[in-house]
Structure formats: structure tokens, C-alpha cells
């Protein structure tokens, strides 16, 4: 597209002449990221000051120029390609750590701060930032949130959104919004995670920091089969032992890595686990005994604990060199990213190996066994179009295999443009419609990183919708009738938290089914009308616990009222009815999901203003865990909540936003 001269003049007066570039060479050098996507933008804006983002976006919005936020551009999904042309906002210059507060355990950073730079600064003070993406030496914190990145430590500590306390963002309209976990309402920080710049530009983050763990012990364990290694992780979870990380390799990868790194890995093993325990010395000792016992039970061939720091480094040597071992083999490496329920890992990996064999593709498989996330590294030459196409197709098949195994097409890399088409394989039409409407609400002109995440013309390709539960169908029918009659109503559960005197209500009390308690993956899928007491009772009968306390209120109430914001990180999937009566489904029994907008975070704390959550899938534990309750502060709607409400419920069928209520 042609950038109007007046727009350039305005941008130059705002950012300085040298920071507004339109020459061909500069544009071509901002046309790519770590994926195969390559699209030339029309304008490059180097942002040097945080306060310039909002006015720059306002100017771009006024001239209807699309824009793509970009910092280190290390993503594997093509999220930084300017598909509609327009401007690249280079945020790499916003790289200052603004504050580190060890007393209250937080750090305030700009989005271009390199993750490892923050780690290094914190380590000196005896603290650390928990998310550790493999590319932490180069990726930025803003990018981590935008791509919903996580790392090896994710199993114990959670991913990026779980460690961001506050965020400032500029919406595509140019409006600056402050999101906070304490502010009540939907978890907008969680919603920004994985939004890939399609909902706005992140300009500042306040992240949680933790005291450095002084005692860490690493173990290398080999198994005669993948199933045995996965069963080991399941048994660990069943005993309430959550390792700091569980990294795994299959036999083929092991061979490649050992050939390169000479780390001393036994190449005859069918599977290898690198486990790490942290905590107090007594706790580690106790857990080590249990770990050894579990490994023995699962036919472990070798159990090698690292006794010294040097030994620990040696155990990690091969795993760390894995990418290099693969990168040397061919010009290009495409890193895939699929996640399945942990119990499905052996089946998924078998399918992947079959796909690779059929297509005659060389690839290595590395995986985070703790959360069922695996990364096939495909080796190919992108200069050979046939080779590139073959690999692309293989990747699509692998992702479809993940979905077939009850998983997702992305655990931590995002969707971007590379996996956009596969979204239709994972989600049904109403859910994709909801993604599209969310995007439209936040970005009516479709300027912020357009054409990402949501597949094009998905209506016919979308996954057929599975039939809904009878009680849910009845509720959906009531919603549709009320909508046609134009009679609004309050959403109620047990009427214990958000009490209402309204006569017209949408009650969830009929939704009391416990669909599944899975003791392999440690997840429960439960309808939201069940009371917390009943839920606790049902879970304890199976010897497991969820993070919510008991009570007379419903599960849906606890989730939607915002009473337990720390529980949001435990929710893995949901079903919800929208104001138009359509049923959307998101997530499942897998631990990570970066495919699409985080619907669990959208409906969490939304107080029924955007939809009725009918079913939740969440983590359960072998030992009691309780999340703290939030102070009962009234939620203050922000511009994004308003926009979403207006888009999803224009006639106000469901409760109006708290502020409007007050008025």
C-alpha cells in the first residue's frame, strides 16, 4: 500500500526523521521472523520512547495503515510478517528495566527487555523470573506475553501470563489501557497472552519475581519405551511431586544429539528424561527417594543423579545442544509445536514418526514431557520449494494428529500465519466466529497485525460442532427465545456471590454433571452449576483435590465472579454460551494452549456479562492446594471490556457492565 505523504510527515515529526524509514532495503530486512513467512512492509517505525507508541498508533489508525508490533522477531509462527503491508513498529529499542522491587517481588519493564537480561539483573539480587523460553537470550518480555511463551520450568511455575501482574497496552484505536490482575473483571492480561499483537501493542509490563531457588538437583533417567517415561511423569504427579522441569528425547533424537555433543547419553535407550527437583534440601531428598522408586517401578534402565554442578551441566549439555545438533544438518530447521494430553504423548509421537517416515523427512523430536508439549525439528532447504512444501504439509499433518489426540496445534509458539489454516481443524465455527468478533471489537478497522490467528474463509472448513449436553441445549434455547423477545436477564448460579433480585434469570443450576475426572492427566471436566461442596466431595472420593475451597456457591460463580483470580491459571478449557445462544468450546485436557485467544481468561471474572460458562476443565492435584481469595473489589470496566460487551452483546441480554450498573 502507498503510505500518504501527510502520514509520513506526521510520523516524522513525532518520532524523528531517522526513525521513519521507507527505503526498500530496510523494509525487506523487516519482512521476516524465524518462520518461513516473508512479507514486505511499507513503512518501518523505530520506536525509541514508550510514550510515542500511542500517538504513533493514533496516526496509523487515522490513515488506516495496518501495523505489526515487532521486537526480537524470534517467533516460529510468522507473527511478525506484515501480511497487509503497512507499518512495522520496531519496539526493540524499548529495552529498559524500569524498576526491580525485591521487597514486594516485582519488576517493571519495557516490552523490548530481553528475558535473559532481566534474569541476569535479578540473579544478582537473589531473585529470578520464572518463565524461561528456550530463546530467553534473545526473546523479549513483550514478545513472550504476545506469543504466550513458556519454557521448561512451565510445569511447576506456569507460563508468561501467570507471571505478569500488570500491563499497559495501546489498543488499535490509539487508546492507552492499563490492565491489572487486581482490577477485577476478565483476565485481560491472560487475554493479551497469545494475542500476537492483534489486540494492541504492549508498552509496559509489571512482572512477578521470585526468590532464587538455592537447591536444585538434576537427574538423567533412561527408559526402554516412551510409554514408561510418560507413566513416570504421571506417577510423579499422582504423588504430588511437581518437578522443576521434565525434558525428554526419543531414541532418534538421542542419537543425533549424542553424535554432536558427546554428552555421554546412552544411545540404546528408547526414551530419556532429564528431571530437575528444587526446594529445600530435605524436600529434595524426600522427593528423590520417591522419584527413584517411581522410576524403578517404570522399568528405568539408568537413574543418574548429578552430584556436582559440573555433573549437572554435563547432563544438560546434550539437551542444550539439541538445536545446534540439528541446525548443522541442513540449511533450515522448522520447529513445530504441538501439545497433547500427557497420556496421549506416546500415541502422538508414534503418529508423528509415521508421518515423517511416509514423507521421508528427517526430523528430531524434543518434548517437555511434563506438559505434553513436543517440538519436532524438521530439517529441509527452503531454497527448494518442493522440499519446503513437503515439510509444511508434514507439519500440518503433525498438528492435525495433535488435535486428533485431543490436543492443540500450539502449546507455546502461537499461531501467526503459519498455523492459521489449522485453526479450522481445531475449532468449530462458533468458536472461530467468537475469535473474529473479539478481534473486531478491539480493532474495528482491522489494523493491528491483520490476517493472523483467525483462518480465512473458515465457514466450510471449520470442525463440525459436537452435540451439546441436553441441559446446555435447553439453556441455549432459552437464551435464543429471550433474545428474540428482547428480555434481558441476570446469569445466576446459587445466588451467593453476585446476588441479584432480578426476576428474569439464566440459571446454571441444572448444569451439575461431572463429565470426567482424569487421573492420568490430572484434570477434571465439570459443569458449572455444581456447588463447590459437591465438587470437593466428588473429587475427594477419587482421592484428588482442586484449587478451589468448598462452599455453597457454584463452580461457575467462583470462576465468573472474580473471587479466585489465581484459579484462572488452573483452568485449561471451557464451554460457554454466548448472548446469541451459540456454544463455544475452548481448550481441553492439555496443559498449554497458544492457539487462539484465551477464552478461559475472557470469561474468567467477567461476571456473566459476556456469556455463560457452562463447563470448565481444570487441573486437579494429588495433595490439597488452595488458591487465595481476592478482595471483593468492584470490577472497573476498561475500554476493551466495553468494546467486547458491545460486540458480543449489543442488546444487553446479559448483565450490563458493573460501572454502568452503578450509574
Amino acid at each position: 500500500m502507498k503510505i500518504p505523504h501527510t502520514a509520513l510527515t506526521e510520523l516524522r515529526s513525532l518520532l524523528g526523521k531517522g526513525n521513519v524509514l521507507t527505503d526498500e532495503a530496510s523494509l525487506l530486512l523487516h519482512a521476516y521472523d524465524c518462520s518461513l513467512s516473508r512479507t514486505r512492509p511499507d513503512l518501518l517505525l523505530n520506536i525509541r520512547r514508550e510514550e510515542d507508541v500511542a500517538p504513533a498508533v493514533k496516526i496509523l489508525s487515522a490513515y488506516k495503515i495496518p501495523f505489526v508490533p515487532r521486537a526480537a522477531a524470534t517467533n516460529h509462527a510468522g507473527s511478525c510478517a506484515a501480511l497487509n503491508g503497512g507499518a512495522i513498529l520496531n519496539l526493540a529499542g524499548l529495552n529498559r528495566i524500569l524498576q526491580i522491587n525485591t521487597q514486594e517481588q516485582f519488576a517493571v519493564v519495557q516490552p523490548g527487555v530481553i528475558t535473559a537480561d532481566l534474569q541476569n539483573a535479578l540473579n544478582k539480587l537473589g531473585f529470578f523470573y520464572a518463565p524461561d523460553p528456550a530463546s530467553e537470550r534473545v526473546c523479549t518480555l513483550g514478545g513472550n506475553l504476545a506469543q504466550n511463551a513458556s519454557g521448561a520450568r512451565c510445569m511447576k511455575y506456569g507460563g508468561t501470563p501467570d507471571h505478569v501482574l500488570e500491563a499497559d497496552a495501546v489498543l488499535p484505536t490509539g487508546q492507552t489501557v492499563h490492565f491489572s490482575r487486581d482490577g477485577g473483571g476478565p483476565d485481560f492480561i491472560g487475554l493479551l497472552a497469545g494475542s500476537e499483537g492483534t489486540l494492541g501493542v504492549i508498552t509496559r509490563l509489571k512482572v512477578q519475581i521470585l526468590p532464587l531457588v538455592k537447591h536444585v538437583k538434576t537427574f538423567l533417567v533412561t527408559f526402554p519405551s516412551l510409554e514408561d517415561s510418560v507413566q513416570t511423569v504421571t506417577d510423579l504427579t499422582a504423588r504430588g511431586i511437581i518437578p522443576r522441569c521434565v525434558e525428554a528425547m526419543d531414541q532418534t533424537t538421542l542419537q543425533t544429539v549424542e553424535d554432536f555433543s558427546h554428552a555421554g547419553y546412552p544411545i540404546d535407550a528408547q526414551a530419556l528424561l532429564i528431571l530437575e527437583l528444587d526446594g529445600t534440601p530435605a524436600q529434595i531428598e524426600r522427593e528423590e527417594k520417591e522419584l527413584a522408586e517411581i522410576c524403578r517401578k517404570n522399568r528405568a534402565q539408568q537413574f543418574l543423579p548429578a552430584k556436582t554442578e559440573a555433573e549437572r551441566n554435563k547432563l544438560w549439555l546434550g539437551r542444550r545442544a539439541a538445536y545446534a545438533a540439528i541446525a548443522r544438518l541442513a540449511p533450515n530447521v522448522m520447529v513445530g509445536d504441538g501439545t497433547v494430553p500427557r497420556s496421549e504423548l506416546p500415541r502422538a509421537l508414534k503418529k508423528v514418526r509415521q508421518i515423517l517416515q511416509e514423507r521421508n523427512i528427517r526430523a528430531s523430536l524434543l518434548f517437555h514431557a511434563g506438559d505434553g508439549n513436543f517440538h519436532p525439528h524438521f530439517i529441509f532447504d527452503e531454497r527448494n520449494p518442493a522440499d519446503a512444501l513437503r515439510v509444511k504439509r508434514a507439519l500440518n499433518e503433525v498438528l492435525k494428529a495433535c488435535v486428533d489426540c485431543g490436543g492443540t496445534i500450539s502449546g507455546e509458539h502461537g499461531v501467526g500465519v503459519e498455523k492459521r489454516a489449522d485453526m479450522a481443524y481445531q475449532y468449530d465455527k462458533p468458536t472461530l466466529d467468537l475469535f473474529a468478533r473479539m478481534k473486531r471489537a478491539a480493532d474495528p478497522l482491522n489494523l493491528a497485525n491483520p490476517l493472523k490467528i483467525i483462518p480465512v474463509n473458515y465457514a466450510e472448513k471449520a470442525r463440525p460442532q459436537a452435540p451439546a449436553d441436553e441441559a446446555v441445549q435447553t439453556l441455549a434455547q432459552r437464551i435464543r427465545l429471550r433474545r428474540e423477545a428482547g428480555v434481558p436477564g441476570a446469569v445466576t448460579g446459587a445466588n451467593t456471590r453476585l446476588k441479584t433480585a432480578a426476576k428474569e434469570t439464566f440459571s446454571t443450576r441444572a448444569l451439575t454433571k461431572i463429565a470426567d475426572i482424569d487421573l492420568t492427566n490430572y484434570t477434571a471436566t465439570v459443569q458449572t452449576g455444581i456447588t463447590l461442596d459437591d465438587l470437593q466431595h466428588a473429587l475427594s472420593a477419587r482421592g484428588v483435590y482442586c484449587a478451589l475451597p468448598g462452599g455453597k456457591g457454584t463452580l461457575g460463580g467462583a470462576f465468573s465472579s472474580g473471587a479466585y483470580p489465581h484459579f484462572y491459571a488452573h483452568t485449561l478449557g471451557l464451554e460457554a454460551l454466548l448472548p446469541d445462544g451459540s456454544l463455544v468450546r475452548y481448550g481441553g485436557k492439555f496443559m498449554k494452549n497458544s492457539a487462539g485467544y484465551h477464552l478461559t481468561r475472557l470469561f474468567a471474572g467477567a461476571r456473566g456479562t459476556l456469556g455463560i460458562v457452562t463447563q470448565l476443565t481444570f487441573k486437579i492435584f494429588a495433595t490439597p492446594v488452595t488458591v487465595p481469595a481476592a478482595e471483593n473489589a468492584p470490577a472497573k470496566p476498561n475500554a476493551l471490556w466495553h468494546a467486547l460487551k458491545h460486540e458480543l452483546d449489543p442488546n444487553g441480554l446479559f448483565p450490563i457492565l458493573p460501572e454502568d450498573n452503578h450509574v
Binding site: 532495503a25 530486512l29 521472523d33 524465524c34 535473559a116 537480561d117 534473545v138 548443522r328 531454497r383
Partner: protein
């Protein structure tokens, strides 16, 4: 001016010798998976946070040109900046999983685009060292004599150096010590022999060791004389200067000349510059396709020695160092492997806890006269290096070449006088 074409670029270096085998320049650039691991290690990216001036951007630019997607004639100025902003330090190669030699790529691009990195007058002067050593010797001596008389100071004061485009004289004047004795006189005063009978080692002094740091050359001759009979070969070009700043033909010619002389002498060659050592180790790639000369260059590489071979078990010159000591990794092409690993190991053994380990993000002084290429880039890079030194309160910084010591000392004197830089060979006293 830009008679550049993909075929011409291919004609330049037939193949690059990488750890994973021989690769054409295009193949080598195409091995970049754009993962971005190199970005944070690059000193020029650290300065301006722009993809354009990053290793990944440079490799993509090269590829775009070779695939004829970017016309170099229409982007002359930016391409010159992209190429010349690269300090050739090889830190990107160190962090790259595929060990992509971006510095070599940039040199190829520089040659293909006929880009001159050094000011013309400085280039002409320095290239005389290889072609007309006697004239070069006379010119340098005259220059130093005039400097002693105060003529350089006068030229600077009157602004004439700037007027005639000779700013490099200002920089050289800043870097060089005030009083510089001639090497021959210095050796004679210290009673160090430079032309023994039946020598068994050739000492190839760098330009700075020969003319500006005679004490460094003397120290090396003296320490190597404990086990050997070293002979000084002054003003013998290694071909590195031509390789980096000139053209490949001249560089090959210089290396051939050196090979012939070394074959005649049939002795190992000692150098005080890590850059020369690395370059001659990679010299076989200059003759890729020419088996005879490739073999000879390989033999020369095997015969190369660095000053690490003569470092003491105890630091003679720094017996009571209680303050932090570190290594400045300022070098061309590579920041790992030999001899850097050996030096690091030696320093660690010698200074134990006082040796400060470097982080991958720590800055180094730009190497091999980069300050004369782009002082506007080199200055903030040197500042970053000083900042790193000051942050760890390092008192002594060891360098791997005399020029880096000169450059670093200049910055330290102005910005952090608590520290000083020394060539690692000065451990011998």
C-alpha cells in the same frame, strides 16, 4: 561503481571453510534459519536495536542481493553502512548453532561492492607494508619523527588534518604512546638478540609491536628465547590487512609470499596478534579449488604459533595481583576456540578467583583498527567495553593483540583510569 552481480560474488571466495564443511558464500548465508540467536551478541545491534544492523539482517541482505531481490546500486549508502557497521568480531558465529560466518560474508560483500572501509590515504600507506616494505618503514619512521617534533599536534590544532581528510591521523595520535623508542634501539638496550644463528622459530611482529609497542616485541623475543632461537621477520605481510581492507588477489599474493619464505626457512612462525593467527589458520580457504596451494596453506596453518605457547606458569609481571583481572576477547572472526580458550584457561589458572569470567553480553573493544573504519560506531562500542570493565571493577584487562591494548588503553585513560590494558604476552614481563 557497483559492478556487482551474483556471479561475481561467487567468483570471489570459492568456498568458506566452516566447521560443517566447505560451503559457497550463498549456501553459507542460506543456512541462516533466522532464529535470531546472534542478535544480542552483536555490538552494532546492541547500539541501535535495528534489524538492519544485526547479523541476521546482514545475512538476509546478502541473500537478497545474491537472489537479485535487492539491487545494490540503488541502496549504495545503506548497504555500505550495513557492511561497515560489522566489526567482524565473530560473536554472532559463536552464538549461532549453525556457526554461520557472518563476518566472512560481510567481507565478501565489501569486496563485491568495491566498498573501501579505511580512508584512502591510510589504506594506501598501510598497503605499502606488504608491497614496498622499505618505503613503508621510511614513511612510518618519518611520521613518528615529525610527531616527536610536534608537527602532528600543530596539524591537529590548526584543523588541517580535518581539512585534508586526514582525521585518521588524529585518532592514531590519540592511540599511540607519547614516547616510542625504535625497536632496534630498544632491543639493543635490553640486549635482546633478534637475528640469532641457526634460528628455530620465526617471530612475525604485528605492525603495532614493530613500530609502536617495542616493549611487547622485546618481551615476546625474550620469553621465546628461553626455549628457542627466535628470528625477527619485520614488515612481512601476513595478508590479513589485504583480506580485511583490500582485495582478495593481494591477500592471496601476500599469503603465497609468506608460504614461500616459510617453506625456505622451514620453521614454525610465532605471532603476537590473535587476528593474524586466526586468519592464517583459515588461510586454506583462500585457495579452495587449488589443491597445491591449499595444502601449502594448511601446512602453514599447522606451523603457526601464538604467544600462549610461551606464557609463564606464574605471572612474572603481575606477581601480587589481588585485583580483578579479565580477558578482552577483541578478535576478528571468532570469539571461541584456540587460542582464546587457552588464554582463558591460563589466566584462570594464574589468577584464580581474581579472574572475572565474561558473560556473552559483555562488550569488547572493536578489533583490528575498526575505529579507523567507523569511529562513530567504534566509540560507543568502546564505551560499552569500558562499562563492562568498570562494572566488575577490573584493574587489568588482557588483550590478544597490541592494537586492542592500544585502543582499550585510550578509552580507559579517559573513562576509567583505574584499569589498564596489557597484551597477554606482557605476563612475561
Amino acid at each position: 561503481m557497483f559492478s556487482f552481480s551474483a556471479s561475481r560474488l561467487r567468483r570471489q571466495l570459492r568456498a568458506l571453510f566452516t566447521p560443517f564443511g566447505e560451503r559457497s558464500v550463498y549456501d553459507s548465508a542460506a543456512h541462516c534459519t533466522r532464529c535470531g540467536s546472534c542478535q544480542q551478541s552483536c555490538p552494532s545491534y546492541a547500539l541501535n536495536k535495528q534489524e538492519t544492523f544485526s547479523p541476521r539482517g546482514r545475512n538476509q541482505a546478502l541473500r537478497l542481493i545474491m537472489e537479485r531481490k535487492l539491487d545494490p546500486r540503488t541502496h549504495k549508502q545503506l548497504l555500505e553502512e550495513i557492511v561497515n557497521s560489522c566489526t567482524l568480531c565473530g560473536r554472532c558465529t559463536q552464538t549461532c548453532a549453525g556457526k554461520i560466518p557472518t563476518a566472512e560474508h560481510m567481507l565478501e560483500l565489501r569486496r563485491a561492492l568495491n566498498l573501501r572501509a579505511l580512508p584512502d590515504s591510510l589504506y594506501t600507506l598501510l598497503s605499502l607494508r606488504g608491497t614496498r616494505p622499505a618505503l613503508f618503514d621510511r614513511l612510518v619512521r618519518t611520521g613518528l619523527f615529525l610527531r616527536r617534533l610536534g608537527l602532528v599536534a600543530l596539524l591537529r590544532k590548526t584543523g588541517l588534518t580535518r581539512l585534508f581528510g586526514l582525521e585518521w591521523i588524529n585518532r592514531a595520535d590519540d592511540l599511540l604512546p607519547r614516547r616510542i623508542p625504535s625497536l632496534q634501539k630498544y632491543l639493543a638496550a635490553k640486549n635482546i638478540q633478534s637475528r640469532p644463528e641457526n634460528p628455530d622459530l620465526i617471530y612475525l611482529p604485528s605492525l603495532e609491536a614493530q613500530y609502536f609497542l617495542p616493549e611487547l616485541a622485546a618481551s615476546i623475543l625474550k620469553s621465546s628465547a628461553e626455549k628457542h632461537r627466535p628470528v625477527l621477520w619485520p614488515n612481512v605481510s601476513s595478508g590479513l590487512f589485504e583480506y580485511v581492507y583490500g582485495d582478495l588477489r593481494r591477500s592471496r599474493r601476500a599469503v603465497r609470499r609468506l608460504i614461500r619464505r616459510a617453506e625456505q626457512a622451514n620453521l614454525p612462525i610465532l605471532t603476537d596478534s590473535v587476528d593474524v593467527f586466526t586468519f592464517l589458520h583459515r588461510a586454506p580457504q583462500l585457495f579452495s579449488g587449488n589443491k597445491r596451494w591449499e595444502h601449502k596453506a594448511r601446512k602453514l596453518a599447522e606451523n603457526m604459533r601464538f604467544v600462549t605457547d610461551f606464557l609463564p606458569k606464574k605471572p612474572l609481571a603481575f606477581p601480587d595481583v589481588k585485583t580483578p583481572v579479565r580477558l578482552d576477547y577483541s578478535a576478528l572472526f571468532c570469539r571461541e576456540g584456540e587460542p582464546l580458550d587457552s588464554v582463558q584457561k591460563i589466566l584462570k589458572t594464574l589468577f584464580k578467583k581474581n579472574f572475572v569470567e565474561c558473560l556473552y553480553t559483555d562488550a569488547d573493544t572493536p578489533a583490528f583498527g575498526y575505529g579507523f573504519v567507523r569511529n562513530s560506531w567504534a566509540k560507543p562500542m568502546a564505551l560499552n567495553a569500558v562499562r563492562t570493565i568498570a562494572q566488575t571493577q577490573t584493574a587489568t584487562v588482557f588483550t590478544l593483540s597490541g592494537l586492542s591494548a592500544l585502543e582499550l588503553n585510550y578509552s580507559l585513560k579517559r573513562l576509567y583510569p583505574n584499569a589498564r590494558a596489557e597484551h597477554v604476552a606482557r605476563l612475561n614481563g
